[in-house]
Symmetry: C2
Subunit: 146 residues, 2 copies
DNA sequence: ATGCATGCAAAGAGTTTGCAAGACA
DNA sequence: TGTCTTGCAAACTCTTTGCATGCAT
């Protein structure tokens, strides 16, 4: 079991919800791959444990999302994708042309959080940043065509 | 017709796609309200022009998204929402408890874009930032309960 | 022991697609 | 005029729900 999965289970315990086989397996699946759609999670879960129902997967994804254990990102497309976010933060760079997505770590935003909290009264626990643009490859292809 | 709608139409012309009544109406609807779901756009479009089909709305939303004229955000929930983004940028602060969402303007990120471009080779055209946390009200409610 | 969570299956939404007809440039 | 876009309607996929059963605590 991965460290991220362990962290997620701990969060479940803290939230005082029961730890059941379906929940365990959904977490394992999410820990094994990022940016999965709900149907993809269903498929992966049932590959590991065919008896687990679609409904439980949906209910678990909903639970994990409400608890902030996983986060939703779309990469610019109208498709919801789930990812475990132990740090609470998540950053992508998405190419508008080829639609490839890249992760990046530091976004320099942590420094801005205190100011944002002061201004808004929020206590901020995490963020998602998606930047859109043209990747190096597509810029090149574009300049050739023009 | 709002300024944002005009901008969107100009982008369509630049992209050399035809400007048709369904496309116009979808843009007007998106210009009139942010964060609409696809079914909400369908409803609003058909209120203005009942003859426009659901399929055209979906096709138009897809087109606008691919052209970067509108952007997708989820506010942390597994529901895709469309918003016209003339600047290319978009910022929310979402309360994990009451699920209310607030917009904010400057995110201090523009300063970081050049560095990110240099590091990744991307040419960045816009971004979405969603921060999650507890709003002031929910923090208070929480401290009362505890 | 008890109340929460599950599986099942059906219903309900939401989205996509093929094709003939129509309209933009 | 030619090509792109539309509307229709059906098919499809995805998601939610009620309820009896089972299980985590």
């Amino acid at each position: 079991m991965s460290a991220n999965a362990e962290l997620a289970l701990q969060s479940l315990r803290q939230a005082e919800v029961r730890i059941t086989p379906p929940r365990r397996v959904v977490i394992e699946v999410l820990a094994s791959q990022e940016h999965l759609t709900a149907p993809e999670v269903v498929e992966a879960v049932q590959k590991r444990a065919p008896a687990i129902s679609r409904a439980s997967v949906y209910r678990t994804l909903d639970l994990l999302t409400r608890l902030g254990i996983c986060r939703i990102a779309t990469m610019g497309l109208p498709i919801v994708r789930y990812t475990l976010t132990p740090t609470g933060n998540h950053h992508h760079l998405v190419c508008s042309n080829c639609l490839r997505a890249f992760e990046f770590d530091s976004c320099g935003l942590s420094a801005l959080v205190p100011e944002l909290e002061a201004r808004t009264g929020f206590r901020i626990s995490g963020h998602l940043l998606e930047a859109y643009g043209l990747c190096a490859d597509c810029q090149q292809a574009e300049s050739v065509t023009e």
